[in-house]
């Protein structure tokens, strides 16, 4: 078996008496979509934050492409190719759609400290940004101010910005939320293809999408990983059924 692209080992984070991540070990392998599901308050966002580098774990480690990145910050992990989208859109709202995509291109190419040449005259950056926008279907809205986008379009833009990084792994926090049936279906198809470029760790509430897309699923309950497996294995897992359905199966 090849080495996983992204891996957490025994990741633990406590907030006072609450253990938000309780020895979580999971891995993301090349070419797969690995979905992370769990009831509200299970600690999914806390886990994602530790993987992305915005929150330091109390114990355990994060490995990315075989490198221990536990002590690296968000910036360093992004530079190593970790592309992230947010549950609550984190975009520059006053900027245009194109500018947001360009920002990703600027970060990816390490050109943030160029002061003189207008960013719109840099053809390499423009190409990268417009390509990403086209892939999520936002090319016609490039000149639109981001604040004017609908909820779903903002989600698409989040994905586009992550694409400009040409990441080696994606970390997506509820990309389907607020998309509506049509949008959700389109994004499902898109992510299905995207996994071949880079594997996706997907946090998602939309179970139809999860079951349609995921190669493997991990279930997080009260900060603890109670099961990891294929869709069928998870469907059949007694502990999962108990956690989700309250069944005493």
């Amino acid at each position: 078996m090849t080495e996983p692209v992204l891996e957490t080992r025994n990741l633990t984070k406590r907030f006072g008496a609450l253990t938000a991540s309780d020895g979580v070990s999971l891995d993301l392998r090349a070419g797969e979509i690995h979905a992370l599901i769990g009831p509200n308050g299970a600690g999914k966002s806390t886990l994602i934050a530790q993987i992305a580098g915005s929150l330091a774990p109390d114990e355990g480690s994060v490995l990315f492409n075989g490198e221990d990145v536990t002590r690296l910050d968000t910036v360093a992990r992004a530079r190593r190719g970790l592309g992230r989208t947010f549950q609550i859109s984190a975009l520059a709202m006053e900027h245009t759609v194109l500018q947001n995509a360009l920002l990703g291109a600027v970060g990816a190419t390490g050109r943030a400290f160029r002061f003189f040449r207008p960013v719109l005259k840099d053809t390499a950056l423009l190409a990268r940004a417009t390509e990403a926008l086209a892939r999520v279907g936002l090319q016609d809205l490039a000149a639109r101010q981001t604040a004017e986008l609908s909820h779903g379009q903002r989600r698409q833009l989040e994905v586009a910005v992550a694409l400009t990084l040409k990441p080696r792994a994606f970390l997506m926090d509820e990309p389907m939320a607020g998309l509506g049936a049509g949008g959700s279906k389109r994004l499902t198809t898109f992510l299905g293809e995207l996994r071949r470029e880079a594997p996706i760790l997907l946090v998602e509430h939309d179970m139809d999408a999860v079951f349609a897309l995921a190669d493997r699923i991990s279930v997080l309950v009260y900060g603890r990983l109670i099961a990891t497996g294929t869709v069928d294995e998870i469907r059949a897992d007694r502990e999962v059924r108990r956690a989700y359905l309250g069944e005493d199966a």
Partner: protein
């Protein structure tokens, strides 16, 4: 042509034509007023990079204005006394040459901004406002109680410093120098705001998380912006000192910091020519209202209040409408 571009042209045209007219009509005082506008605009252009682009509310930009001023004052006072600034380990003489003074002003204020920024940018929000204010007060009280360069009384320079090939004592020639420097700074500022750096800096103001997740270090962005900003304001300080042939701790006072912010806000925050419009408005108000009433700052207070509460785009925003300023 966009309305804002037109308005910018009108503002710069007026700033150039009024003193030219005053020169023909032999009204040196008007030229001096225009020179003040140009210099204070320059200070505002500097602040606008930190405040307008970076969203960094610095209540300490008087530090850089003052450092520029004292760079001029200290160099020129040594030159006029024929006493060296430093004898050991190597000799440093004073100078009356503007380009050298400018260079020293820019370098020293940039260094100060780098150090102060590195410390202050660890905080954010209201703490950042307060720590920049505190640094300003440090410099203010230091210059007051440091007797070597005039202490509380400040330093007078008898003759304005020189620029090769020009007679700087002629008001219109000194104005020309200031106007050219302002134009250069505006050009640089416009390039910066359209550059990848400008894009990242303005994005960091709106969503720091976003900038971090695309792999850009927002602290470094802000530190560089703060340093450039301080350097430009420092240059303005050197020119201001040369205009008055006088420097004093007032240049470091927190009211000075407040006034530089006011130029930016009255004109329109984040607008390229906002500081020019704001400084011009400020000087006009000071001149005309100040002529009417000793208490003209009451009116300034009400105007500022009105702008903050009701006209947040400032002068340019109100006249040019709410277009996206940075494209």
């Amino acid at each position: 042509m966009r309305r804002e571009t037109l308005l910018n042209a009108v503002i710069m045209g007026a700033l150039l034509l009024v003193p030219l007219w005053a020169w023909v009509a032999d009204e040196p005082f008007t030229i001096t007023l225009a020179t003040r506008v140009a210099i204070l605009s320059l200070a505002g252009v500097g602040l606008n990079i930190a405040l307008g682009l970076g969203g960094l509310v610095s209540l300490g930009h008087a530090i850089f204005f003052g450092i520029g001023g004292y760079a001029m004052g200290i160099l020129a006072s040594h030159a006029q006394d024929y006493s060296p600034l430093l004898e050991s380990p190597f000799l440093i003489e004073g100078t009356k040459s503007m380009p050298v003074i400018w260079l020293v002003a820019i370098v020293t204020s940039a260094l100060a901004a780098l150090v102060i920024g590195a410390l202050s940018l660890r905080t954010s929000g209201v703490y950042f406002i307060m720590i920049t204010l505190a640094f300003g007060q440090m410099f203010f009280f230091f210059t007051i109680s440091w007797p070597a360069y005039g202490g509380e009384d400040g330093l007078s320079i008898y003759v304005r410093n020189g620029f090769p090939g020009l007679n700087t004592l002629d008001p219109i020639q000194f104005f020309a120098i200031c106007f050219v420097l302002l134009s250069l700074a505006l050009f640089a500022s416009s390039r910066i705001s359209r550059s990848p750096f400008g894009l990242a800096l303005t994005a960091a103001r709106q969503s720091e998380t976003r900038v971090l997740t695309v792999g850009i270090d927002s602290f470094r962005l802000r530190l560089v912006a703060f340093t450039i900003s301080g350097a430009i304001t420092g240059l303005a300080g050197a020119l201001f000192a040369d205009l008055n042939r006088f420097v004093s701790p007032t240049m470091f006072s927190w009211q000075t910091s407040g006034e530089i912010i006011i130029f930016v806000i009255l004109g329109g925050v984040g607008r390229l020519f906002g500081p020019v419009a704001g400084a011009a408005l400020f000087i006009l108000l000071e001149h005309f209202l100040g002529g009417l009433s000793e208490f003209w700052q009451i009116y300034l207070g009400f105007l500022l209040l009105a702008v903050v509460l009701f006209a947040r785009g400032g002068l340019i925003g109100t006249l040019a409408g709410r277009e996206v300023a940075h494209d």
